[in-house]
């Protein structure tokens, strides 16, 4: 039976795109990206590149047989630049050669003739110039102007959060193989096989049924391969189709970093009104989202920011405004949290501001204002849980927050050079695609005559353990060991019209569909068993690999039953479709039930700052997380731990630096993510919730923990203040050692 992914990984037997056996005659592709951030593309000099031994072809926009367009939400993204370039690294040409080395040499030998135009890189500037990808949106509830006018305390300010590179360890890539009848088969490292299929079909001018996309697993995704895996698969597909030869395109790390989008940087304005006791009565926030050069998923990311404008707090009077600002940077894209983290940072910054004005600890304001049952979100969706309060209180009691604060105060009084800080960070995160139609999934289940089981769904395995969860769900239905269930690759020929594996919903949706298909087969099997055993169907069950009747084991093993059912001409296959019930978000009115449910949790972060050098350690993050009743808590724990460290990275050392649109942090030497020595100690506790609503696989767990990382920023801010620095200017993340030292020196950068 099939060893699970972890075992294949440690044995080195897991296959990624670049590890696939190379078909005979396979060519390698590399991409020439625009060296200029904005300009008119006059021409491309290919003479030198063509002369390089091994170079077979140089593919440009003129070679596209169908539509040179791969935009998903908005059709504003050419596959290859045509007439104009809009960001540094925008694909202009694809060099195809007999070796990877020759392809890269070919790229280096290309020169583009570009008339440079002024570039816009800051979202506020793009907004001033009216460069918006979609009309600005407002989500409002109550009367925020009146509430601000009468509030005892009003704080106003601005914040800024930086980008974040996904740094999936496996770079983007695809292998395209032309097949008979003008068909193309593509193995892609994508979270969205259907998006790749649709884009390739459009580019080639063929039907979607002429393009098969197959995904075994990704070496990490984090949102970075939701929309942004498509160009590379489409370029490989195009080259393979044109040259009638297999083509592999795997980005080098530096090309990947330069050419692909990352987490959206946000600027924001806020105004918060509070009572003298610290109750928030008004919240106004305006997001200036840096969307980059094309829409990609930016409108959906912005929508999630608006839907998370109030973060974990219940506020009656709210106005959240969002601007999706077009700039000359690579299209920013999905990244774990998807606009939620950016919105939460603004809220926590405003609470920090208000706490300073009111002279209380930020945690006091947090706790007073936590959302609870009966609160209504700005979109009109009611909150149906007190888990925000419960996780917050459990963190305080379980991890001894009050004692820690005393301990830290004593440490800081006794130490001049080193200062400690702590902060609490509550998270309330909505689960579902806010684009309602995406909340569907299908699955195909086969039981073979030997009792082995194969499952195909639209879920893509990228380390988050979705396959193991689906496997457990299906095995549970058939009452067999997990190892009897094999998860097939994700393939558009077996699972059509799939939603991307994203929004933390991959397991929710696909395990539900797979379980539904499995149940259909199990019902047929039980019915057949009832006939064989001459007992009522209701008395038959499948458990421990056997058929039981009236609770007692029979001589019928699962495999024997499968074989008998086959000979009796009972179908051992089923396809099922699942659509999340009860959700509907209406963009026209900016209202509705956007989410199936919310996931809650709270984290406590502790840090130590060297007040002389501005360096620091993130010592420990302790959290209480709301995962419901999970089939695989070990997998959930991995998602929580990994999410925290990624979030801490975003808030501390991970700094994406562009200068005039050129990425300065374009390799791992200049862009640092947490290593094993930088990772904090982690304590993960679960919110025990006896009456939790049941989900097939527990509550979604992929994204929410990332936002615990925001606590690291505010813990560091507290440590800076313990060194006697006011730190009352605009809050800007990440808190790199540079930012910390300049704060400590009283310098304005």
């Amino acid at each position: 039976m099939k060893p699970q992914d972890p075992l294949l990984h440690v044995l080195g037997q897991s296959v990624y795109v670049d590890d696939l056996p190379e078909p005979a005659g396979m060519l390698h592709a590399a991409v020439f990206g625009s060296p200029i951030a904005h300009g008119l593309l006059r021409g491309l000099d290919v003479r030198q590149a063509r002369a390089i031994p091994g170079v077979v072809a140089i593919v440009t926009a003129a070679d596209v047989p169908g539509r040179n367009q791969i935009g998903g939400m908005v059709q504003d993204e050419p596959l290859l630049a045509d007439g104009a370039v809009h960001f540094v690294g925008q694909p202009v040409a694809c060099v195809v050669a007999t070796s990877r080395e020759a392809a890269h040499r070919g790229v280096a030998a290309l020169t583009a003739d570009i008339d440079e135009l002024p570039g816009v890189f800051e979202p506020r500037e793009a907004h001033r110039l009216g460069q918006l990808i979609i009309p600005s949106r407002t989500m409002a509830r109550g009367d925020v102007d009146a509430a601000l006018a009468t509030a005892a305390v009003v704080v106003r300010g601005q914040t800024r959060t930086g980008s974040q590179e996904h740094l999936y360890l496996e770079t983007q890539g695809a292998l395209a193989v032309p097949e008979e009848g003008g068909r193309v088969r593509i193995v892609s490292s994508t979270q969205a096989p259907t998006a790749v299929q649709r884009a390739v079909a459009g580019v080639l001018g063929v039907g979607m049924h002429d393009v098969e996309v197959d995904v075994t697993r990704l070496g990490g995704g984090f949102g970075g391969k939701e929309d942004q895996a498509t160009p590379w698969a489409a370029l490989a597909g195009l080259a393979a189709w044109l040259l009638r030869a297999p083509v592999k395109l795997v980005l080098s790390r530096e090309d990947d970093m330069r050419m692909t989008g990352k987490r959206h940087p946000y600027d924001a304005d806020y105004a918060m009104g509070l009572t003298g006791d610290g109750d928030i009565v008004a919240w106004q926030v305006e997001f200036f989202q840096n969307a980059g050069a094309s829409a990609d998923l930016s409108p959906a990311v912005l929508e999630r920011s608006l839907l998370h404008a109030t973060a974990s707090y219940g506020i009656a009077n709210v106005r959240a405004i969002g601007h999706c600002c077009r700039t000359n940077l690579p299209p920013f894209t999905a990244f774990r949290g998807f606009g939620g983290p950016q919105a939460m940072f603004v809220m926590e910054s405003a609470l920090d501001h208000a706490a300073r004005v009111l002279g209380v600890d930020r945690s006091v304001l947090q706790q007073r204002n936590l959302t609870r049952t009966g609160d209504v979100q700005p979109c009109g969706m009611p909150i149906r849980s007190d888990n925000a309060v419960r996780t917050f209180e459990q963190v305080i009691s379980q991890f001894g927050f009050a004692a820690k604060q005393r301990e830290i105060a004593a440490f800081n009084a006794a130490n001049r050079r080193f200062k400690r800080g702590a902060a609490l960070m509550p998270v309330c995160f909505g689960i579902s695609f806010t684009t309602t139609f995406l909340n569907q999934a299908s699955a195909l289940v086969h039981v073979y005559t030997d009792g082995s089981i194969a499952v195909s769904t639209g879920a893509v395995e990228m380390g988050q353990g979705v396959n193991a969860k689906i496997q457990a769900a299906v095995a549970g239905v058939f009452g067999v060991a997990d190892a009897r269930v094999r998860l097939e690759s994700t393939n558009t020929a077996r699972a059509a019209n799939t939603s991307p594996t994203a929004a933390s919903s991959g397991a929710d949706l696909n395990a539900a569909a797979a379980a539904q298909a499995a149940r259909a087969i199990a019902e047929r099997l039980k019915s057949h068993a009832a006939a064989l055993l001459e007992c009522p169907e209701s008395a038959v069950a499948l458990a421990d690999g056997r058929v039981t009747a009236h609770g007692a084991a029979t001589e019928w093993t699962f495999e024997k039953l499968a074989q008998a059912a086959y000979f009796a001409r009972v179908s051992l296959s089923a396809q099922a479709h699942y659509a999340t019930p009860g959700i509907l978000f209406n963009r026209a009115t900016e209202s509705g039930v956007a989410f199936a449910y919310h996931v809650f949790g709270t984290a406590l972060t502790e840090v130590t700052l060297d007040a002389l050098l501005g360096t620091y350690t993130i010592d420990r993050v302790s959290c209480v997380h709301d995962v419901g009743t999970s089939l695989r808590r070990d997998i959930d724990r991995g998602q929580v731990e990994g999410g925290i460290v990624q979030g801490v990275g975003w808030m501390t050392m991970e700094e994406v630096v562009y200068r005039d649109g050129k990425l300065q942090s374009a390799n791992l030497g200049t862009y640092k993510v947490p290593d094993i020595l930088a990772a904090p100690a982690l304590d993960v506790a679960w919110l025990e919730e006896p009456n939790a609503p049941s989900h097939v696989t527990g509550k979604a767990v992929g994204e929410p923990p990332l936002m615990y990382g925001i606590g690291a920023y505010f813990a560091l801010l507290n440590a800076v203040r313990a060194a006697g620095v006011a730190a009352d200017g605009m809050l800007e993340a990440p808190m790199t050692p540079e930012r910390a030292l300049l704060l400590l020196c009283g310098e304005r950068p």
Partner: protein
């Protein structure tokens, strides 16, 4: 495979042991080992994550016969020139011969703790942990953590990997004191049985060619931990001479001075007792310099000749008053290191001359040395600013001082004016403040991805304060 158009005539025959068998290939000696493993030999378990030694996904073990016994180290195969592998043993995940039924203890521990999610970094983690079991002096948890400091995992947050390491540490304690761990690890199946036969296989391979002269036009490649980062194509069109064929790696006392062969690695020097007499805290400072995988390959000579204004070892050597020995067609010459770098990436190196050795004068021994480095990430990162202070005091008065700093000038900078000004000054806050001011005045940092000019200037001043705190507990600059 980088089978570039010009490389044919530059190729040579290279033999080594890959896992259990002797292999041979014709390749340009600067070809990254990773490309040979994945390309020529088609073994795909070793992953390419960055090609710059920063992610560790391509970590393999490299073993060589030293005094009749195998010495292994974990290295990033993307930065190892294949020419340097000649006559050595390369071990990849395939070579551990774990199976689904019987994974190695390292593999089993990672599965048990779910220390693998997407799996792409995992082969590197497996090799780093296996290397830890083979080579860590005491088989302690903190050694395991350091052995993993060159491996990036973007999924797990490292916690389950640390739990797996803890389980391995506990399991393998009985082996901690063994002089040769191979038999013990073969017994626990952490290593396959063929490891016992490797010394014999290696002994039958042809010995390395020794060069006495640098061929005209040849570029010297030492550890290649920066040259290959800049791109193999820069080397593959040229003839290269491997430092391992050209220079020794001995660390020895000659006429009272410490003489370090240009082939000596950072890791070897960082733990060498003769060097610790100059810099007792070196093992601690070494943690701030690269990763173990990189330090096992990177050489001091490379750090000097690479001429990066931000090299870590070169800053220490400048503060220590090192001299360098250059060898060429016309013989040997020696100069103080602080006169070698003449401008950005420019140095006083004549045609066909190479750096053969570094000499630390005996008089520099037993003084006090402090090193500071600040980067975005504390470990395996390039400094925003680094600096070192060598100082000799008599009671409360400074007799002599040498301050050097990186990241603040076009060259690794010896701060001669600040150093001179410290001579004869009392050890007090005013002196420290003055040193900070003078240091800032003596440098010309630029704004780049590692920080703004303002930050670097402030950081240098604060590092000067930190040196005096570390060495003399003077609390200048504290809140």
């Amino acid at each position: 495979m980088p089978d570039g158009p010009l490389s044919g005539r530059l190729e040579r025959e290279i033999q080594f042991v890959l896992n259990h068998r002797v292999v041979a290939l014709r390749a340009h000696p600067a070809t990254p080992l990773l490309d040979a493993i994945r390309g020529t030999f088609g073994q795909k378990a070793t992953k390419e994550g960055c090609r710059e030694g920063d992610c560790g996904a391509c970590t393999v073990l490299l073993g060589q016969l030293r005094d009749g016994q195998m010495a292994y180290r974990a290295v990033t195969s993307c930065l190892v020139p294949i020419g340097d592998v000649a006559g050595q043993h390369v071990v990849t995940v395939e070579g551990l011969q774990g199976t689904a039924q019987q994974p190695t203890p390292v593999q089993a521990a990672l599965v048990a703790e779910l220390g693998t999610q997407c799996g792409f970094c995992t082969p590197g983690i497996v090799m780093a942990l296996t290397g830890f079991l083979l080579t860590a002096p005491h088989l302690k948890q903190d050694e395991a953590t350091l052995a993993l400091a060159g491996n990036i995992c973007r999924c797990t947050g490292y916690a389950p990997i640390l739990r797996a390491a803890a389980a391995l540490v506990a399991q393998h304690q009985p082996l901690a004191t063994a002089t040769d761990r191979v038999p013990g690890l073969v017994a626990t199946r952490a290593l396959p049985g063929y490891f016992a036969r490797i010394p014999q296989l290696l002994a039958e391979l042809p010995p390395r060619v020794r060069l006495t002269q640098l061929p005209a036009g040849a570029r010297v490649v030492a550890g290649a931990t920066d040259l290959l980062v800049q791109g193999p194509h820069r080397l593959l069109d040229h003839e290269v001479a491997l430092a391992g064929d050209l220079c020794g790696d001995a660390i020895e006392v000659v006429d009272g001075d410490l003489v370090i062969g240009a082939g000596a690695t950072m890791e070897a020097l960082s733990h060498h007792p003769l060097f610790l007499a100059f810099v007792p805290e070196m093992p601690q400072y070494a943690r701030l310099i690269a990763s173990q995988q990189i330090r096992e390959r990177a050489t001091l000579a490379g750090n000097i000749v690479n001429a990066s204004p931000i090299g870590d070892f070169v800053i220490l050597l400048l503060a220590l008053g090192a001299h360098i020995r250059l060898q060429g067609p016309d013989g040997t010459r020696e100069m103080p290191l602080d006169q070698f770098h003449t401008g950005y990436k420019r140095m006083d190196l004549r045609p066909r001359e190479w750096l053969a050795a570094i000499r630390l004068p005996a008089g520099q021994r037993d003084k006090r040395v402090a090193f500071e480095k600040v980067s975005k990430r504390t470990h395996l990162d390039i400094a925003s600013v680094n600096s070192a202070l060598w100082i000799q005091v008599d009671g409360q008065r400074i007799v002599a001082a040498r301050l050097a700093a990186g990241g603040v000038a076009p060259v690794p900078k010896f701060l001669s004016q600040t150093s001179e000004a410290l001579r004869g000054k009392p050890l007090d806050n005013a002196t420290v403040r003055l040193a900070g001011e003078l240091a800032r005045a003596e440098v010309t940092p630029i704004s780049d991805v590692r920080g703004s000019a303002l930050y670097k200037s402030r950081l240098l001043e604060r590092q000067v304060f930190a040196h005096f705190q570390r060495l003399f507990a003077i609390e200048e600059g504290l809140p």
